[in-house]
């Protein structure tokens, strides 16, 4: 039954062509950030901000975002300054960072994430906001989750880890922040990556859940691409986490209008 309903949603997403729109806004250091918005609902609908993995672009979510629309979410997929290209989508923020000779390590992308969250909250969403990261950005959304608890209502992290030691940070850089997370968290990864994020997961005090595929799976949000053999299992687990965020909008009952 569960499989059927998910298949229906995916089919619906394929049939319903929600057009994405390319938008730009500024990061804190005036670097222009490119993003694709996937808006299928009113601005009170839950909103997911999508961050890509190393070497990629907003194109990581080309297939995923329309399916999130079909599940009841609006979404925005960002180009962080650390990345390159995927699915034929060139990372325009990264290109601009190179042109401006700006640093582009994974940690240098942190202000891009924060600027994106603020942009969405100020301009695109009045309802709940969920942060979604992939690989290095999955680690960063967990860090933001602990350090800025008022900025989000939920966190999805595909293949997070303590990736920043070689950039001069402590080995528990993410865990230190994750200890302060107050919102529900979902973590997933390839099956052999659990060791990378399990210590982080253990210190999260908030409601949390995780999913690991029985077989290999794959690194990052790519797990949800239809090219990943286990993608339906990943989607089912994710849907269980996301469902409570979707509030069915009921029409006002007659007579309730203008009540004083």
């Amino acid at each position: 039954m569960k499989f059927l309903s998910l298949t229906m949603i995916i089919t619906l997403a394929c049939l319903t062509a929600y057009a994405s729109e390319n938008i730009t806004f500024f990061s804190d250091d005036s670097l222009l950030i490119t993003a694709d918005s996937y808006i299928a609902h009113e601005d009170s609908a839950p909103f997911i901000i999508l961050f890509h993995q190393a070497g990629f672009s907003r194109g990581e979510y080309k297939e995923i975002a329309p399916k999130l629309n079909a599940l009841g979410f609006n979404a925005l997929a960002i180009d962080q300054r650390s990345g390159k290209e995927v699915n034929g989508v060139i990372n325009q923020t990264a290109s601009r960072a190179v042109e401006k000779n700006l640093r582009d390590t994974y940690l240098d992308a942190l202000p891009d994430l924060l600027a994106s969250i603020r942009y969405v909250r100020d301009n695109m969403a009045t309802g709940k906001v969920i942060l979604w990261g992939s690989s290095y950005s999955a680690a960063l959304v967990l860090k933001i989750g602990g350090d800025y608890p008022d900025l989000m209502d939920g966190i999805v992290a595909f293949s997070p880890g303590e990736y920043f030691e070689r950039l001069g940070e402590n080995p528990d850089f993410i865990s230190v922040s994750a200890r302060k997370i107050e919102v529900p968290v979902f973590i997933s990864s390839a099956s052999d990556e659990k060791d990378r994020w399990w210590p982080i997961y253990q210190v999260i005090p908030a409601q949390k859940s995780y999913f690991l595929p029985e077989m290999n799976g794959i690194h990052g949000s790519r797990a949800l691409w239809s090219s990943t053999p286990e993608h339906l299992d990943y989607w089912n687990a994710l849907k269980d986490f996301l469902n409570p965020f979707v509030i069915i909008q009921k029409p006002n009952p007659p007579g309730n209008l203008n009540m004083r």
Partner: protein, 128 residues
């Protein structure tokens, strides 16, 4: 052919310097040596210096074989690291681009340089 591998302790990068005729098998042997080095830690950045190699005979199959090796050893190699390839000849630049294309969906960053200092700067911008 010679391939020397030195690891800057404690957290890298790994500097691999190749010279003379180099093929895919040589690269994989160098990768094995790197992974077996007691000073190697998963996720270390790497700088491959190919400025004095002669790799004209490398074929697509060899490039794919290297990518397959990296993919198969991902757990030990780590993820979210940077690989800088430094080349001097156009033909090597082409081969490096081919490697970049085939490894595109692996979770690490790769850049090709003709200037050694630019590669070092990209790997560790805070030291420059």
């Amino acid at each position: 052919m010679t391939i020397d591998c030195t690891i800057k302790k404690p957290s890298g990068p790994v500097i691999i310097t190749a010279s003379g005729p180099v093929n895919g098998k040589d690269i994989i042997e160098a990768l094995i040596k790197m992974l077996q080095d007691p000073d190697f830690k998963e996720g270390m950045d790497a700088l491959w210096d190919f400025r004095t190699v002669h790799s004209g005979n490398s074929e697509t199959a060899e490039i794919r074989e290297i990518v397959s090796f990296v993919r198969a050893n991902q757990k030990k190699r780590g993820i979210n690291y940077r690989v800088a390839l430094v080349v001097s000849r156009d033909i090597d630049f082409g081969l490096a681009r081919m490697f970049e294309a085939y490894s595109h969906e692996l979770p690490f960053d790769i850049q090709i340089f003709k200037d050694f200092n630019d590669a070092q700067k990209w790997l560790n911008p805070s030291n420059h």
